[in-house]
Symmetry: C2
Subunit: 318 residues, 2 copies
């Protein structure tokens, strides 16, 4: 392994594994949003990806990279959201078992989605400790490969393929902005983008209620998430060593936004672009709409990765 957990070669290899199995998602633009931001924004629409989120990429790359010997015992992970679906889907397609640990308070609709991909679900108490311990036991008992949602190098490389496609399709960009949860997407984006566009400026977007990456970048060391509280249910986790190592060397800045700004940006996309994105997914546009971002000079074209569209329509923030 080089300096980082994933390299551009890993991203290219991931891209080849994903080709023909995932969607090459469209890139959309919107005049009204360009007028509001004073920028030209290219939205990479991963809400149209398989399982409704970019997480497909990392899960698919990790699971299709396993040897037949490794794969036959299956794969496992803990997740309440899109990563669970990504692992379950890729395992189903490879015809190997998937063991998913989910918190017992996970939305029924998400549990059903994972069940729909034939995964074996184990419910546990809704604490990180319970999730980790339950997963450990299952991994030990079954010998299944643990697919970490963001610290796994193959997952980082897989997530980087979204930025690779974005740049292939759009060409030059002044900046790219993506949300940071565990940092898998943002770190993969850094690796791909800096290789393809050495001068591109990279920005993370985080909810103020889950700002571990923001605080870490300011302090210069990896700090954990503490009592996260935000509508962005996909961004509650802390970063890992592998993602932090990449982010600290590549990001120009991290912009934090409050939940109200997230909902405003989310509503703007729904109303103007007529596409469905989940709250976590709205953080980069919310960031680009802040006065703080608008003050930055020499940024005219921006790529934004719209991460996913799995929302519970019964619980909308409008």
């Amino acid at each position: 392994m080089g300096k980082y957990a994933a390299s551009m070669e890993d991203v290219i290899a991931a891209s080849k594994r994903i080709k023909g199995h995932g969607h090459r998602t469209p890139i959309l633009t919107n005049k009204t949003i360009n007028q509001l931001t004073g920028k030209k924004i290219f939205f990479k629409c991963e809400n149209f990806q398989k399982i409704g989120a970019f997480k497909f990429r990392g899960g698919w790359n990790a699971i299709s990279s396993l040897s037949d010997e490794e794969a036959k015992k299956g794969v496992c992970t803990h997740s309440s959201g899109n990563h669970a679906q990504a692992v379950a889907y890729a395992a189903m397609k490879r015809n190997i078992p998937a063991y998913i640990v989910m918190p017992e308070n996970a939305p029924k609709v998400k549990i059903q989605a994972v069940e729909g991909y034939n995964a074996k679900i184990t419910l546990c108490k809704p604490t990180l400790k319970a999730r980790r311990e339950t997963l450990e036991k299952i991994a030990e008992k079954t010998g299944a490969y643990v697919v970490h949602p963001f610290n796994e190098p193959k997952v980082i490389a897989g997530q980087g393929t979204a930025a690779l496609e974005l740049i292939e399709d759009v060409g030059d960009l002044d900046a790219i902005c993506a949300p940071i949860g565990g940092g898998g997407l943002m770190s993969g984006t850094c690796i791909a983008a800096k290789d393809m566009l050495p001068n591109v400026r990279l920005f993370g977007a985080e909810p103020k209620g889950a700002d571990d990456a923001y605080r870490s970048l300011k302090e210069g060391k990896l700090l954990p998430q503490e009592n996260p509280n935000t509508i962005c249910d996909g961004l509650l986790t802390s970063m890992g060593e592998n993602t932090w190592n990449i982010l600290k060397d590549h990001l120009e800045d991290i912009i934090t936004v409050d939940d109200e700004e997230v909902v405003t940006a989310m509503r703007l996309v729904w109303e103007r672009m007529k596409i469905i994105i989940e709250p976590s997914c709205a953080t980069p546009l919310a960031a680009v709409l802040t006065p703080e971002f608008k003050r930055l000079e020499n940024i005219e074209t921006i790529g934004i990765i719209l991460t996913g569209g799995n929302v519970d329509l019964s619980k909308l923030p409008f």
Copy 2:
């Protein structure tokens, strides 16, 4: 004028006028929905059209067809919805006045949208009589050209361009299904589709609570809408002579659906395709999901026109 208010030549002429001004909207497919219906459905996504609905096409075609002499006095119409926006938008782009009569109980968001296109709005009592009378007075006073929302031949031809693009992009189709309000979209679709695919089977979709076209087709004569009551706020109007004349000769059948079926279809599109459509827009998919439609033989490929995405997010039916 030939047998009908619009011909294929008119649709082709409309297509040339619209080119470069409207979006060539994408055609999307969805595996889950194909599995549910047992068909292969091609969705023509007019929710991504300018002003968020296919109505742009008819409004643009009508207004860009006017001579400079006719145009300079402006255009007018009465509408509480997408047609008002279409006329206002096309007039703004042609730099002529638009006078729009809207019922005083129209949603603020729609009034604001029309104002945003610089139209002069006159509010009136929310009855068809008041709307017609107010419009007549304005037309008399200003000499503005009245753009009827569906009976106007240029509007019918404009709406037909959606089907023209659909067939150009997809090729052969066994059937096409679109909603019927005043019948402008469906009649334009009939003209374009039967010319390009003589064997295509054409189906209208209507809410049971506004089924004037369904009753008219059964009775063989133009019957008016009576006390319409449905969530499909874009389908409340009665047909006109021009649209009825086309529909009665071209439609194989009209399928009616209740509001619950509409909401189920709408939710399916939101959740599975991650795109926003308005209730009126969900009627054709709801129709294709009925046992009645499933019993039809030799229909494997279907084109569905998704008509618009202008919903009030504060008043969702979920």
